[in-house]
Each structure stands twice: as C-alpha cells, then as structure tokens.
C-alpha cells in the first residue's frame, strides 16, 4: 500500500530555505483565503467540522479547543506551537520542521487569526537546536513577504526535558520556570501562559490547518475513521528494514505500516506511542491505528523475537523515571520503585511478589499522578503484565531457582 502524503506533500519537494518554492505549491493561499473571505468564527467552524484532533497524542478536538480560547475573556491571547516532541521513538516533527517549516508557519498564522492571538511561540526542544536556523529563516522570509503582519512569532528553545512536551509544563518553561506540570483546572484555553487564554497545538496539527482551510473540511473528514479524521504521520524505528516517516490515512492497520511499508519481518512486540504508549504483542497487527484504538503521537517501534521483553520495559521505565519532573509523589517515587524492581528482574534477581508490586504501583500512578507523564508511566507496565505475564513468571522462577542453588 502506498502512503498518502497530505501534510507531508511538500517535504523533500520544496526548498525549505526558499519561500518561493512553497508559494509555487499553493503556499499561503489558505492564509489569504482565511484572512480575506472567512471570519474568525468560520475558520473555527471549518476546523471543527473537519474533525481534526490534536496530533500530540491526547487527541482533543482542535476546533473545540480554539473556540474555548476565542470565547475566553481578555484581549491578550497566546498561541503556542509545541515543537518539543520528546516521546521516545518520535521524530515526525523533526522531519516536518526540517523539510517544510512554511506549512507550520502558515498554520500558526491561521490559528492565531482564528483565536485572536497577536503573539505566537514555537517551543523547540533543545535536542533539535540544529533546526533553529531553518525555522528562523522561514519565519524571516514570511515576515518579509508580509504574511505575518500583525503577528509576532517568538522562537524559544528548550534545554533537555521530556516533561516540557506536556502543555502546562511547557508553559512553565516558557515563563522561564522549572518545567513542572501544573494542576488543572484552570485549563490553558481559559488561563494558560502568563495566566492568559492559551492554545497549544502540536507541529503536525498546525501543519494540517492550511490543507483543511484550502481544500475544505469535507475533503479532510472524508479521510480516516469515524472519530479520527485525516491522515497521521508515523515515526517507525526498531527492527524494521526501512525505518523512517510515513503518512497514512487514520484507520490504516499496524501491519500496513510496519510490515508493508517499513519492512518488518519478525515481530515480537510493537511499542505504539513511545515510552508512555502501548506495548502490544504481534497479534495486534491487524489493529487499525486511530484515536479509538492505539495511536499516541504516532511513534511505532518494532522489537523482534531476539528482544527480551523485560529489557524493553526496563529501558522504557528508565526513560520515564529520568524524565519525571518530581512534583507529585506517585510519579516521583513510583517511577523509581518501578525502575528498581525492573532492574532487578532484568539482572535475574526477581522476587515472588514483584509482579504484584509492579501492578499496584502502576495502578496508583495511573489513578493519582498529577499529569500525563506519571499516568502514562503505568501503561507499558500494565500492558506488559497483561500481554507478557509469562515472561515475568519465567524470569522470577529462574531467579528463585538460581538463588536456591546458591543457597
């Protein structure tokens, strides 16, 4: 099956350093259309009826979010582009920013117009600092051409913190603070950056906006499933022969992505949605990728039969534990406990009660953590206990047997 490149249509086609090549491909036509022939409300309505949902993983309806901010009190409102993709295995935004920064900038300009923001931020993860000049150059050219009149786009770089991809932590970081998550309510569209109404959208979400405005909501909503419209960009890595970026209609199967396109031939585990995402066995290959089933931000890592399941869970939790902000008890202490138990299991020092403790701590983190990081840390642990319990049992039995031999 072939890809359907809608969001990525310009990538490796245009010259990201030359706005002229973007304009030739209908660039900024959507912005002109919005500004000249559409009211703010009708832009929001168009996005609402397109069914576009947030591509950062949470899947909140984009137009509904915009409407909340547009209707919020106060004249000062902010738009933030979340370019802090830190989810393990994710690199789709890197690809978009590198090869088509203009689609993002046009999307930002349209979104800012719709919600009434005069200032927008792009928060770029520190790991992607090498993309700063490309993005800065693209903004400069758009300013020169007059596309950003009345809008100030500020480029802020991060400094190495996965948690800052969480929207409230990102706002704290933009305010110059520790990137700790905030409790909700208040929600950002009501009170966000500097306590002003704020919309935070993922790079991919914003890059989809020009396509929707130019081609219409109906065109977009004809693609995908009932509750997941449009296409999705996937980052595929791990035991596949063709790792990379693929754009597919929502509802395409895992098999189409990892076998047909990425060339996986031996599959034991598929991690969908990164570290805080799902850990699934091979017999989920026919699952349709969508918000209704599994998706996250579209990171897919394949593990073949040579991989040790406990090692995979251990490395996943190691990542999440190191990236916990440390604000709330369940995540700060819980991820450390999970990490230590999994490290023991990995080293063949399992104990009988380990699976019970893993399950209890993971459930508590899911129930009581302050933000999505802590809640998400539970997912790979619970999935592995659910789908790969025998791996744990074997490891614990082995450990106890060796221990008994050693006396």
């Amino acid at each position: 099956m072939a890809e359907s490149r809608i969001i990525l249509k310009n990538c490796e086609v245009i010259d990201p350093a030359d706005i002229g090549t973007y304009i030739e491909k209908d660039g900024f036509k959507a912005l002109e259309k919005a500004r000249t022939s559409m009211s703010q409300e009708s832009v929001i309505d168009e996005v609402k009826s397109s069914g576009l949902r947030g591509r950062g993983g949470a899947g909140f309806p984009c137009g509904v979010k915009w409407e909340l901010a547009a209707n919020a009190d106060g004249s000062e409102k902010y738009l933030i582009c979340n370019a802090d993709e830190g989810e393990m295995g994710t690199f789709k935004d890197r690809y978009l920013l590198e090869y088509d920064p203009f689609s993002l900038i046009e999307g930002i300009a349209i979104a800012a117009y719709a919600i009434g923001a005069v200032k927008a931020y792009i928060y770029l993860r520190g790991e992607y600092r090498y993309l700063l000049s490309t993005i800065r150059g693209a903004i400069g050219q758009a300013v020169e051409k007059g596309y950003l009149d009345g809008l100030d786009i500020v480029l802020q770089e991060g400094a190495g913190a996965y948690i800052c991809g969480e929207e409230t932590a990102l706002m704290n970081s933009l305010e110059g603070k520790r990137g700790e998550a905030r409790f909700k309510p208040p929600f950002p569209p009501v009170s966000g950056l500097f306590e002003k109404p704020t919309i935070i959208n993922n790079v991919e979400t914003l890059a989809a906006i020009p396509r929707i405005i130019l081609n219409g909501a109906e065109w977009f909503s004809n693609i995908g499933t009932e509750k997941s419209k449009g296409t999705k960009i996937f980052s595929v890595s791990g035991d596949v022969s063709r790792p990379g970026i693929y754009e597919l209609p929502m509802g395409s199967s895992l098999k189409q992505l990892v076998v047909d396109l990425a060339g996986a031939t031996d599959i034991k585990i598929i991690q969908v949605g990164g570290a805080a995402g799902r850990l699934l066995p091979y017999n989920w290959l026919d699952t349709a990728l969508s918000f209704e089933t599994v998706l996250g931000a579209g990171a897919v890592t394949v593990f073949d039969s040579s991989r040790d399941m406990i090692d995979v869970v251990f490395k996943t939790i190691e990542f999440l534990a190191e990236e916990s902000c440390g604000l709330c008890t369940p995540c700060r202490e819980g991820s450390q406990v999970l990490f230590e138990i999994l490290e023991r299991l990995r080293n063949g020092e399992g104990e009988q009660q380990d699976t019970d403790v893993l399950e209890d701590v993971a459930n508590t983190m899911a129930e009581a953590s302050l933000c999505g990081l802590g809640q998400g840390t539970a997912v790979p642990v619970l999935d592995s206990l659910n789908f790969f319990k025998q791996d744990y049992k074997n490891r614990i039995e082995q450990s106890l047997y060796i221990k008994s031999l050693l006396g």
Binding site: G158, S237, T301, G326
Partner: protein, 379 residues
C-alpha cells in the same frame, strides 16, 4: 451566589463557587488526609494523598485543588480510593524510612501518623538508593535533616507566602528533587530568623528546632516582615534563555553567573539554581569544550548504542560523566534525541550524527580535536 449541590459519601452537601472538594468535605466533618495542604498556603497538589473518586471521572482527583461542581457525586473512602491512598503512603515510607522509624521523631512525623491512621503496613518494597543528605545544623534557628523530607514543599511555600521571604527553592528533578538554599548550600542565611514558620509547616521531622524539638498544636505566631506584597510566583520569561546563553558562552552555568543573572532579574539565586538544575542540557559544573551526548533510549539502545559508548570511551579515554584532561571533550548519555530512524545517534554540541559506526565516530571526533572552541561556531 448560586449554591452548588453535591453528594459526599452518600450525604448531601452544598457549597459555593470556588470551594474545593476538601473544603466541602470538612464542612461535613469528613476528614480527608492531606500532607501538602495547609491553611494559609495556596494549594500545591503534589502529595496526592487527598485523592477522592468522583462519579464519571476516569481517574481519581485530588480533593485539595478540585473545585466542586453542580451534582458531583464524591466518594472519599471507596475501595479504589483507600487502596490508592495506601500505596501513595507506602511510596513515601519506602523513600523515607530509616532515621524517623528508629527514633522518637516518628510520632512527630505526619507520614507515620497517616500510615497508622489508614492502616498502611510496613512497605513491601524499599528504595535501594533513597535520598540521603547530611544533617544541617549551621543555622541557629533551624535544623534540617532532608533525608526525612517528603518534598511536599510546605517550607518553600510557607516561607514565601506567610513570612514574605524566599529562603528555600526547589532544585534538581524527578527522584533527585531537593529543597535547597541558594546554590544548594547548608542553611545559614541572614534573612532567616527565628520565626519557626517552616518548622511548624513541615509535616515530617525534616525541619526541627536546633534542639531537635518540633512544637505541635498552636501554630507559632509568625514574626513576619508584614503581609506579602510581592508576586507569589515571579514571572521570569527571560531566565531560561539567559541560562542557555550562559551555557553556550561558558560551557556551563557557574554560581557566579547564576548570582549575576539573579541580581539582574531581581530573583533569589536559589530560584535560578532551581531552573538551571532542572534541565538536562544546562550544567552547573564545568564541561569540556565539546559535549558529546550519546542517545541511550530504546531505539538507539537496540541498534547498538553500547558500541557507540565503547567507541567514544576508547577514543577519548573517559567514561560517561567525565571530561578529558585537556578539557576538549565531555561525554554524557542522554534520552531520546529524536533521531531513531538514524540509530544509533549522538549529538556533538548541537550537531546531529546518525547511523554511527566505530570508524565514523573516530573520524567525527578527529574533526573536533582539530577545531577551536566549536560551541562558539555559528548556528
């Protein structure tokens, strides 16, 4: 004002807008245990012991900062709530045992009191490397034993919100989070007087009077410099940018640099230190001219990141966390850098290198060995 009708543990209750679940429950005489919630302090929502179940919500919610809404049906002691609460306390005990279990401070410690109230058994797991710090006795007013701290931040907030000073700041991240003074030095500050407010608000025996006591009951009347007039939560948007610039210019952010930045922004240096130690790409100790960051997360790990680590170690003769003796290179391991399609990958300063092999690494490092101060190279 419109009345909000709710149900708590099957009993009808009413409240007004802005009231939290915790307020409403207390009105009914229903006690919900809480550690980081204290009268007079803004809610922080960090301890999570006060979680309750609200019908129709996916997850439990903290009673201390969740506003009541019309028709809410709340359970404060369902099985789901009590099990979760017990494990949160178990987690606190697991990272916090040792000294207070052994001496009479245990009865002064709210964690142990709550544990006995809600019948938490001794933890089934212990954290192997718990946070452990030397006891600080330099201040004539406060004895700090941070190995007993549960990071509820009451001291940070009480000093700020009640006394009007800002002696404490949060620093580091995750499990290593710590309440620090300035750039993590023992408490001995002129501005700290004998008000005792932080001691009174500390739920554990982490903060005590120098004689090792901790009065309970009546709150000490705080000798404040008057009601707080400054902003509770200073806005400092340029701070992160200034720190990143300093990191780039000097290769690290020194205590002096942090003090200068703090002075220029009218901040306390502890808060600057707190931000600097939160971000992995900022360093408060000197680095080599070139910083090598090898990705160790799963997609690179499974594509032989260890080979990359071994090659760099061999080329440079240093281990992760070390700097070469000529000051040319520092070497770190990092989490996912978003180059999983080019695994194994690494960053040298801000330059990305993927699909690494031992030969490639050797030639990359050679090019840096010949360069001068590459971090000052243009973007």
């Amino acid at each position: 004002m419109e009345k909000i009708e709710i149900t708590i543990d099957g009993r009808p209750a009413s409240g007004t807008e802005g009231m939290t679940i915790l307020d409403a429950a207390r009105q009914l005489g229903i006690e919900i245990p809480a550690l980081c919630n204290e009268q007079g302090l803004k809610p922080s929502g960090n301890c999570r012991i006060c979680v309750v179940e609200v019908e129709g919500m996916n997850r439990l919610v903290p009673a201390c900062h969740t506003p009541i809404e019309q028709g809410m049906n709340i359970s404060t002691r369902s099985h789901r709530v009590t099990e979760t609460r017990k494990i949160i306390v178990e987690l606190m005990l697991a990272s916090h045992t040792g000294p207070c279990m052994a001496d009479n401070a245990a009865k002064e410690c709210s964690v142990h009191n709550i544990a006995s109230d809600i019948e938490v058994a001794p933890p089934r797991f212990l954290i192997q490397n718990p946070r452990s710090y030397p006891v600080e006795m330099m201040s004539p007013y406060v004895k700090r034993d941070l190995s007993r701290c549960i990071l509820c931040r009451n001291c940070v907030r009480a000093c700020r919100e009640i006394v009007g000073h800002n002696v404490y700041s949060m620093a580091y991240r995750g499990f290593n989070s710590k309440v620090v003074v300035d750039c993590d030095v023992p408490l001995d500050k002129d501005v700290c007087k004998d008000c005792g407010v932080c001691i009174e608000y500390c739920p554990t025996s982490a903060l005590m009077y120098p004689d090792g006591t901790k009065t309970k009951g009546e709150r000490a009347v705080p000798k404040t410099k008057g009601p707080w007039t400054g902003e509770l939560d200073p806005k400092q948007p340029e701070l992160l940018t200034l720190l990143i610039q300093e990191q780039r210019k000097s290769g690290y952010v020194s205590s002096d640099a942090m003090q200068k930045i703090a002075d220029s922004m009218d901040l306390d240096v502890g808060d600057v230190y707190g931000v600097a130690t939160f971000y992995a790409f900022l360093s408060t100790t000197p680095n080599g001219e070139n910083v090598i960051r090898i990705c160790k997360s799963l997609p690179c790990y499974m594509k032989h990141a260890q080979m990359v680590i071994d090659s760099v170690e061999e080329e440079l003769g240093i281990k992760p966390g070390e700097t070469t003796s000529d000051g040319k290179f520092s070497f770190e391991l990092t989490n996912c850098i978003g180059a999983c399609d080019k695994a194994p990958a690494m960053l040298v300063n801000e330059q990305l290198y993927g699909n690494l092999t031992p030969e490639k690494i050797s030639s990359i490092l050679k090019s840096y060995k010949m360069e001068d101060l590459p971090w000052q190279s243009p973007e």
